[in-house]
């Protein structure tokens, strides 16, 4: 009996040893730190459609969701527990995870992960209900100046893109408003705006674009360097005299834990951006109102480093 087990074990190890030469030999997991159905999850599912094609990974990508606390639960798991064999990838959201690591209390930082590629950039936008008296950012700033601490505005959580945008707006306008983080993420924050529970909100451009089309909200400004192709009529914060740059833009992409073999990283870094460029991905993303921005590994590394410095500066006083 023992001999048989030993022989089996040897042959199994042998098989897996051979197979390692041809990564990947089984489906690859992609951990998304937000709930199923949210913008990040939804886009990840679209972005990985072509993974099974022979010229891509040749294996499907399976999404697992580990939601909680603005992504902290999933990223903590990814930094501590994910296997470093290339079969567990994770989704990243910048500035979220960088801001959280600067704030502290989590087990990860930019040094814990190796970026692979970026698929999307979703700027934060400032929204108000459709019947609101606010029609531009200057209306909002005037109200906030007259009523310090009384202007409630919702966002997806603390130290996520929305919160960063909120901090930047407050700083640029020199006003004090009341930021209301929402437990159920962007969707819950949007609901609070639509139902009038809060006076305004910061939300994802992609979700706001849909809500605006549905006629339930107005979009007053985009927190990005230039206007967005989806919303050519909405001015940026800069155009409205608020010095808010693109720090809060939500970059979404794929990474692996530090310690993953370099060969695997190289393979992924060459294949994954091609996967994002696939025609069907672009078409579905456009249909869903999700702005794309494909960046390769080198570009993402650069972007992470830049965000790290700007965010450290912004969060210093908090």
């Amino acid at each position: 009996m023992k001999k048989i087990i030993a022989a089996l074990a040897v042959s199994l190890i042998g098989i897996s040893g051979v197979a390692k030469a041809e990564y990947p030999e089984r489906p690859v997991l992609l951990m998304i730190p937000y709930g199923a159905g949210g913008a990040t999850d939804f886009q990840a599912r679209i972005a990985t459609i072509p993974a099974g094609n022979d010229d891509m990974l040749g294996m499907p990508v399976a999404i697992i969701n580990k939601p909680g606390a603005g992504g902290r639960v999933g990223w903590n798991w990814f930094a501590n527990n994910a296997e470093k064999d290339g079969y567990t990838m994770g989704g990243y959201n910048v500035p979220h995870f960088i801001a959280q690591s600067i704030k502290g209390g989590v087990d990860y930082s930019t040094d814990s992960f190796e970026p692979i590629a970026n698929w999307g950039s979703d700027p934060a936008v400032f929204v108000v209900g459709k019947d609101s008296n606010f029609n531009s950012m200057s209306d909002v700033v005037d109200f906030a100046k007259a009523n310090p601490g009384k202007l409630t505005f919702s966002g997806a959580g603390l130290f996520v893109g929305h919160h960063i945008a909120a901090l930047q707006i407050e700083k640029a306008a020199g006003v004090k408003m009341l930021y209301i983080p929402n437990k159920s993420g962007g969707a819950g924050a949007m609901k609070a705006v639509i139902s009038g529970e809060v006076l305004a909100g910061v939300n994802n451009l992609s979700d706001a674009f849909r809500a605006q089309k549905a006629g339930t909200i107005k979009i007053l400004g985009v927190a990005d360097l230039e206007r967005n192709a989806f919303l050519p009529d909405v001015p940026t914060m800069m155009e409205q005299g608020l010095d808010v740059d693109n720090t809060s833009v939500n970059f979404r992409g794929v990474m692996v834990p530090k310690g993953t073999p370099q060969a695997v990283i190289d393979k992924l870094a060459s294949v994954v951006p091609e996967m994002f460029k696939h025609k069907r991905v672009a078409q579905k993303m456009k249909a869903g109102g999700s702005p794309m921005k494909i960046m390769n590994r080198a570009e993402v590394l650069d972007m992470w480093a830049k965000r790290q410095t700007t965010l450290e500066e912004l969060l210093k006083g908090l």
């Binding site: 089996l8 074990a9 199994l12 089984r26 489906p27 499907p60 399976a62």
Partner: protein, 151 residues
């Protein structure tokens, strides 16, 4: 016997409530512990109430445990804990499930161990169960279970 068990169980719950309460009121930042504080006060009050009731011998709900029950459940608990806490990762999820499943059947099958038929029956049941689980989870749902020495 039974009254002692009630004291023990409600004492355990009261102890837990005390710890929860202590942590909620001492940890910082206090904003994050606002809700746990509210709950733990209720928790502690109710658990002290049941504890004193048990001390006075007034607890009636529940049937308690007998030594015989402990003796009976011991092999099952042992197999299950080794299976879930150790073997599942060491041997691989499916292998561990198959072995644990078969051992549990063997441990609790009332039929005589000398009957060959009963051994065959248990092996067949185990094989069927594993086959169904494998098709459903590995093939249809693409759930990647832990692999150890085997799958």
């Amino acid at each position: 016997m039974n009254i002692f068990q009630h004291k023990l169980s409600s004492g355990f719950v009261a102890g837990l409530a005390f710890i929860v309460c202590y942590i909620s009121f001492t940890r910082q930042p206090s904003d994050a512990y606002l809700f746990p504080r509210v709950i733990s006060v209720f928790f502690l009050t109710l658990s002290l109430w049941t504890f004193f009731k048990a001390l006075l011998g007034l607890s009636k709900a529940g049937n308690g445990l007998t030594l015989n029950m402990f003796r009976n459940m011991l092999p099952g608990m042992l197999i299950s804990s080794i299976y879930l806490f150790f073997a599942a990762k060491f041997l691989g999820f499916y292998t561990a499930t198959a072995i644990a499943f078969f051992l549990l059947l063997t441990a609790y099958d009332p039929e005589s161990y000398s009957s060959v038929n009963s051994w065959v029956k248990r092996i067949i049941i185990t094989a069927c169960f594993i086959a169904i689980m494998y098709t459903l989870f590995a093939k249809i749902l693409v759930v990647y279970t832990p692999r150890g020495m085997f799958i």
